[in-house]
Amino acid sequence: MNLRDPVWADPSGASVGDAPPLVRALRDPSLLAWPALALGMLVTLVITFLLWDRLAQATAQRFDSEVEKVVDQISRRMEAHENILRAAAGLMQASDEVTRADWYNYVNQLGLERNFPGVLGVGLSLRIPAAHLAAHEETIRLNDMPTYAVWPKHVRDEYHSIVFLEPLNARNFRAIGYDMYSEPVRAEAMRRARESGNVALSGRVTLVQEGKGPVQPGFLLYYPLYVRDEPADTPAERGRALLGYTYSPFRAHDLFGDILLGFADKVVVTIHDGRGVSPGTVLYSSAEGKPVSSLEAVREIELAGHAWTVSLRAPAAFSADHLVLWLVPLMGAGLSALLFYLLRLLATTARANRSAHAMTQALTISESRLVTLLDTAADGIVTTDESGMVLTVNRSAAEMFEIGIDAAIGLPLARLLPMFDAAWFAGQADTQPIGLRWRFRQDVQGVRRSRRFPVTVSASRFNLHGRPVYSLLMRDISEQVEAQTRMRLHDRALESSSEAVIIRDVQRGGYPVVYVNAAFERLTARAADEVIGRTFTLASGEQNPEHVLDEMRWAIAHQKPFSTTLDVRRADGRSIWVALSSSPVRDNEGRVTHYVDVFGDVTERIEFERKLIRRTNRLHTVFALSPDGFVTFDEGGTLTNVNPAFLRMTELTQSELVGLSAAAFDGRLARLADPDKPWPGLVLDQSTAEPQRLWLRLPEPRVLERSARVAPEGRSETVLYFRDITQQFEVDRMKSEFLSTAAHELRTPLASILGFAELLINREYDEPARRRMHTIIHRQSRVLVNLINDLLDLARIEARTGQDFRFEDLSVKGIISATLETLTMPDDSHTVRLDMPPAVPRIRVDHAKMVRALGNVITNAFKYSPGGGEVVVTVCEALRNSRLMAGMRVIDRGIGMTPDQLARIFERFYRADPSGNIPGTGLGMSLVKEIMDLHGGEIEIDSASGVGTTVTLWLPVMDTATT
């Protein structure tokens, strides 16, 4: 059985209580913890001892090995010195005469100081019988050493003297002549060498070479030298044949220091002379002050018939591998402790399991049903022990925390719900009674994949088998919290909206208002509680057209959304316009439950629009009725509008102009231009300072003034303004021309008057000539007077435009008679025949003016009938333009007029005969025209050149009366 299985995931029902004690003990790790710790410690101890033993053995072996090496080194070195001495002896035996130089050569080539530190030299000591002593000394003194003497001087049987000792330095020089045999230790070794015929090592001595410096122990090595050809087989023979010795003196410290140079770290060596160890026999020691371990070895070395005792100790550091020594026990102890801890831990979990098992038992046979129930529960359910460790987790909880059920069990609850940490549980245990329930609605955070989420928790504590157990019911409220947040946002948005909002319940009668926002109260000046729960209609204003209300009713009846603009009466009686947008809200079944009305105040906009419309209409009226032309271009330079006046001026059509670009429009207009006049190009986008003048030839000659005005702000529309100044221009031109012509007509007679008068003054002429000239002056003066009179008449009539006329109902006949009476016939050749009908009509005229008009016509008839003849004056009636008119007709048979002349007949100063033969001012017919126009009459002229002219003055008939 898995220790971590949740109890309700183990449907076998097996329980701990059924197992045998051993098994139970095994299942309960707490029983195993202490034995396990003891065992672990024991094993560690044993292993440690074994290990230490092995280590000690290994160290001893290593030490022994070092000891052997030391002994070996010492033996070898001393053997080398024995051989040096044997070779020196060989040199003596092989030669008859060995000089000091030979000896020097031999020793020098050995390189003692370099190769064999510690040896002071290689020397030769000769035996000198007492009888030969003086001779011997003498020989040597003579040979090469004047100071030579054998010493010490006391008398004895035979003397031994060091003859050669190389290298012959100051120290060795001191030894020359010394009798080593005089000293017992050396003598013993020398005797031994002599008797054995072999190398002999001396005991400890102080060398004679030692000077004032530190004195080292010393010893010597001797090799006997026998006389050639004498028997030397027995000690006695060898005693007799002895010639001397080759020998080497050694300073012990220097020698052993060199030999043991490589062992200084490994062994501490003390060498004693002879057998046994005593402080008095020390030759050499490297042990001074050094810590040593307990390892020790003592060896005796037999060398050249003499013994050395070598005592060796291992240095303190030799065997001390502390890390290894202590690592094992430490690790062993640590592992044991760890094992102990783990077993204790398992014991806790197992205890939890046991509690759970106990609960399981309590659940009895309905357990599986309960398991199912818990697993299908929508809420997460977790139980913990009193320390907060999770005992059970149901499926919903596992899903909520996105953790496996297995992984959750045994975890501290704080890992899932940080609020419920050990401190919390500890607090509950101390203070709260069993069976209490807590509910945590807010501020509880769950942890899911390291992210926190809100949960509600309901916790309770109960006792199960004597142990407190906590059960926690929890629910993930993330979505709920989010929804609440969203709702709050929506509420906030509604409340802070500048648009008013009303919600109505359409499932209740009268569609009562259930909600209004702050903007509603502001816009309608009504408090929320005035309208909530009541029927409220927005369409309360008086300006709402019926069709708008109908549309609203229809939309509500058909549950459709709608938008409209409404006149709303506020609570304070003011009326505002609102833009309303209303839409139904449906439930899940599609039934409309509410209506939401959203509206904003658009009063200003509506009023502005109305003003704009009125203004636009006025402008359109001006535009349409204006006698001046308007053409507008939008900001893109496209022609948008053209008014009727402009179309009349140009006889272009709206359809061919609208949509043209400015350039195309200018081109179109230029086709109508007078090619003789300059054409100012059209420039949009800038207002013209001075109007530009356009001369059109088509459809008829016109002069237009064009101004451009760019809208100063907003869209940069351009308005072109065309003013027809043809009339004004023509009047100006005519005035100017009239003045010019009048002046000309006045100057012409004056030229004659002035000229002839000057001639008369300057020269004497005969009487006939004088008379002729006076006549001309007189006639031209008359012309001038007539001209001035006519001009003044014309000016007066024009200026007064008939205001000074005195209209009377007069008979045509009377006017004709009065006219004829005023006329004086120029000569007798002309006659007037009056042809009157029986009944003549009456006309309403100014008598004097009409007499003047008719008089001018009759006078012309006379004047243009130069050959004389009859002028007929008659009266007729006719319907002209649906009016009954009376005509006074004057018929002559004169020169008549060409059509060209006829066309210019009313032109001022125009005269059909410019020759001067026919007198006149050229203003007569102009006057007639003016007078007839002011009477509402017409002039009919029928003329043919060379045939004659008929002029009829038509006037409206008042009635017809018989004379």
Binding site: A743, L750, A751, S752, L759, N762, P914
Partner: protein
């Protein structure tokens, strides 16, 4: 030799006035009542000086005749005095542009006319 003067003038009173004015000097006068007649006459026999009215009926006025004779090889050097009732500065300029040598506005002084004629027939630098 008498200087030949041609007068082109439509008004008989003015023709008579000039005729009588020229009697003060020793001139031979040729008269034409309109420009066409004058053009024909002067081509037949070029005068030494031409007196030319500006405003005359007919197909050609005095200005036109003046321009035309200034293009004619035989006539272009003849001095021309324009006589006209047009007295505005612009009219005078037009007259000189057409090729006139002098411009007299009506009414004019006959004595001044004689001075002008004399001045043109006997230029100061030619004397």
């Amino acid at each position: 030799m008498r200087a030949r003067i041609m007068l082109v003038e439509d008004q008989p009173e003015i023709r008579q006035l000039i005729r009588m004015t020229l009697e003060f000097g020793d001139f031979e006068l040729a008269e034409a009542p309109d420009a066409d007649a004058g053009w024909t006459l002067m081509q037949q026999r070029p005068p030494d000086l031409i007196l030319l009215d500006v405003m005359m009926p007919g197909s050609m006025d005095g200005l036109e005749l003046c321009r035309r004779l200034r293009q004619h090889p035989a006539l272009q050097a003849i001095p021309v005095i324009l006589l006209t009732a047009r007295s505005q500065q612009r009219d005078i300029e037009i007259g000189f542009e057409a090729g006139a040598n002098a411009y007299l506005t009506k009414p004019f002084s006959p004595m001044e006319l004689l001075d002008r004629i004399a001045g043109l027939l006997n230029p100061p630098d030619a004397r």
